[in-house]
Symmetry: C2
Subunit: 155 residues, 2 copies
DNA sequence: ATATCATTGTTGCAAATGCAACAAATTAAT
DNA sequence: ATTAATTTGTTGCATTTGCAACAATGATAT
């Protein structure tokens, strides 16, 4: 039985990336759960992305947080209801869009969660050396650019 | 606006890996759909894994195909109903388990799908050079090993 | 001016997923 | 011997996701 046989799916780079992604997400949700941040990983990523990009429309946000438009809308509904963001009408290319920005409350909880998260992660053993991480980032970037040409993401 | 600000989630390696994984899965399902292989990506991966590892129990298979036990059982039910695998009782560490193996039909459709897939992928432009892919594989492996110590996957 | 197409966001529903609870079988403990 | 704990697989249900259809608005074409 040749476990390293490259012709099998389980040995492809696609499989290994999916596996790594699942570990990442699992670890993320476990940490968010344990730390009681009152935010899910997706909500945190959404607030963080808005704070980074400022006022963007929902579709652009969807592309950034890797969710489809309905899912993005639902996450924003929840954040809106809880007073972490406000949404307002604006235009993009002369088109009516809904943009959003953080409220004071939103900035506060994002900052608090970031701080707690940072402290927690600092106590974890480092999984990759800096050079390994740089290597990985570069390779992933190359892969993404290659795949982008082949896949229609339809967001 | 510092888009490359490393303190933001969207710039972390975790985010980038999830993004790459989503591209991989999207491309995979699109290809399987287009080629009309009468198998989903997950079903293909399952057949491929069984053909590689031989007779294994469901839980071990679940760990390999990165699904939880219920999902694995459901995939196997479907493959079983369609005659691509047979399941039988066996023991592992003196414990009763259900193992499975490919039927003639299962081997046939796996072989056919592999062949079509290989031809299709050969026609795609190469997204990574061999050395880039080797690099990526090594880094991903390191990351996975690091994460494994921190996450309980509960499969 | 009217019709057609494109973009953005929402709704609704089917499918997939995650998870807890359960059942069956075996091991370990007292 | 009885009880408790473990491992494996299934069931059921709540949540999430994916996707198609729709509504609203603006751009383009004839």
């Amino acid at each position: 039985m040749k476990i390293t046989d490259e012709t099998h799916y389980i040995n492809t780079i696609y499989y290994k990336i999916e596996q790594a992604a699942k570990y990442c997400r699992h670890l993320g949700t476990q940490i968010f759960d344990k730390l009681c941040l009152h935010l899910t990983l997706d909500e945190f990523a959404t607030l963080d992305t808005i704070s980074l990009y400022g006022e963007i429309c929902q579709r652009d946000l969807a592309k950034l947080i890797l969710k489809d438009r309905p899912s993005t809308g639902r996450i924003l509904n929840s954040l809106d209801e809880r007073g972490f963001i406000t949404r307002f009408a604006d235009t993009k290319n002369n088109r009516l869009v809904r943009k959003m920005k953080l409220t004071k409350e939103g900035s506060k909880i994002l900052e608090k969660a970031s701080k707690i998260l940072k402290e927690y992660l600092a106590d974890l053993p480092q999984v990759l050396t800096d050079s390994e991480r740089d290597n990985l980032e570069h390779s992933i970037q190359m892969l993404k650019q290659g795949l982008e040409k082949e896949v229609e993401m339809n967001i």
